[in-house]
Symmetry: C2
Subunit: 322 residues, 2 copies
């Protein structure tokens, strides 16, 4: 059996994230090949010296023959059809994804009968750009890469995916799919919606763009993301996004009333400052003392991730112990 | 008479903005001296080789004797008392400010009887830090620095203040005080409030800080600003902040309902993306063909600023023409 770090990597979808992953894995010395639906993207990747094809069936046969780790890097709407092909051609490969919403992906993977070899993933990175040409081998360096530790997860597959994330330079954060989705709603999907609202509001004020500087640029940066990507992640995470959106609207409405009646935004500003300061001092201890595959390993990893812990170098697995 | 660029600069308040201005003006070869209320700040500035004092009366007498340009760089609540001292000791000096809200400052200056020699100013820059030690001579480089062109404004004083902003490396945006305040509400004060709300919302979700990456960091960056400063600018701009805050709440509420009922955030996301793209392509033509002090010069500058124009090198003034 190959060790995890020798496992070949098969990337399906060579956009910003998939394309960056292909570059990062190759830079780390991994054998990596991939599929892209558009000829343009596949040709650009090939031109840059990578092993890319538009022939999904051939790519999946190769994945099955080499027992590769398959990485789903397609947008949410393309996931179901991709999973159908995998179930037909490469059902025994280890499988992960880099799509943002974890419960929705989990449900699709289960529907395709591929859950036993699946570990969900989500690198917490990105830019406002998309496509192969926007990719960057350094995109994952130092960023949190969530790997799911739901009940069904297999230790060997988890180790294989952990090795990929670490070889791309990321730090691994273990989390339950449902906890990931609630957190992603608050720290990613919600800021996208406020960025859109701020951009629209400013665009209607004469002189606003003329004066716009750091506060506006930073707070609306993600509004430059392709609308389809923003919609896909927000709408797929509807159930977790609604409560945090409601909470933010409620906070702003209370501040509005306080500003109108008492000319004060003290309550919002004091609480916001203290929350942001807590974030700035949030510590990220290394997770080191957990063995993958040992009793309760999933629960222990989920608890460690919740407490801020990250995996910076490969954890031992039960099967690798002597 | 001294030319504007030979005018000495007297900075009142050596915090982030005043302290950066002192450094930038000195780096540009200007003679600059200043006052700071706290002994610590004045001593730190003196230690760094600058001409700083805690003796307000002595500093203002020197400003009067040298016909210096006085720059008000104190927080809004300290403005009235500072203006009283200026009116007593240095009432004939050219006067500007770097406080964020322009109508409120204008009203205070008028109440002190100092309007004839006053031009309001607002460098659109800052960091989340404060105090002398946070200052940076490069803070203004390339950033828009608003100078007011209200009806009362004197051409000679305007030229003097324009020269200061340009020598600090800024580009000058001419604007009416009321238009400035409406724009500042949309592009600065409002993003501070959304940043606070986003930080509070995320802080209540387990795992959120563990996953927080670029979107969250950028969208909440300004929540790290000292609460007193955020309150001072938001509360002083109550009248202009309320309508843009209402508009943003309305946009988010409509998106919330659409997400809940139709699982779609298309309307918000499409409009936000298009607004942000318009901002990214907003052009900043040079203002060159307007002479300060010529007929309708204030109206012409206000119109040019509204259209995105900036002053990158000193405009001629009527008195300087041969």
């Amino acid at each position: 059996m190959t060790t995890p770090s020798e496992t070949q990597v098969c990337v399906l979808g060579l956009g910003l994230i998939g394309g960056s992953l292909m570059r990062a894995a190759a830079a780390a010395g991994r054998t990596v090949f991939g599929y892209n639906r558009s000829v343009d993207g596949a040709q650009a990747a090939t031109f840059d010296g990578f092993d890319a094809s538009t022939d999904l069936d051939a790519v999946l046969r190769r994945a099955a023959e080499t027992d590769a780790l398959i990485v789903l890097a397609v947008p949410m709407p393309a996931l179901a059809i991709m999973l159908t092909h995998i179930a037909e051609t490469a059902p025994h490969c280890a499988l992960t994804d880099v799509v943002s919403v974890k419960k929705a992906v989990h449900d699709e993977v289960r529907a395709a009968g591929l859950l036993p070899r699946f570990v969900g993933g989500h690198p917490m990175t990105g830019t406002a750009h998309s496509g192969w040409t926007a990719g960057d081998a350094g995109l994952f360096r130092g960023t949190p890469w969530v790997l799911t530790v739901d009940e069904h997860v297999d230790g060997q597959v988890w180790t294989t995916v952990m090795e990929l994330a670490l070889s791309c330079g990321a730090v691994v954060v273990p989390a339950r799919s449902d906890e990931h989705d609630a957190a992603a709603a608050a720290i990613s999907h919600l800021p996208h919606l406020t960025a859109e609202a701020l951009a629209i509001t400013a665009a209607e004020i004469p002189l606003a763009f003329a004066l716009a500087a750091g506060s506006f640029r930073d707070s609306t940066r993600v509004a430059a993301t392709a609308p389809d990507l923003v919609r896909a992640m927000c709408e797929a995470n509807q159930a977790d996004l609604l409560p945090v959106l409601d909470h933010t609207i409620e906070l702003l409405t209370k501040a509005r009333d306080s500003l109108a009646r008492r000319r004060s935004v003290a309550e919002l500003v004091d609480a916001g400052h203290s929350a942001r300061i807590r974030y700035d001092s949030f510590s990220r201890p290394d997770i080191m003392a957990i063995t993958i595959g040992a009793e309760n390993w999933r629960d222990e990893l989920a608890a460690a991730g919740r407490a801020g812990g990250v995996i910076r170098s490969a954890l031992p697995t039960r099967d690798s112990r002597r």
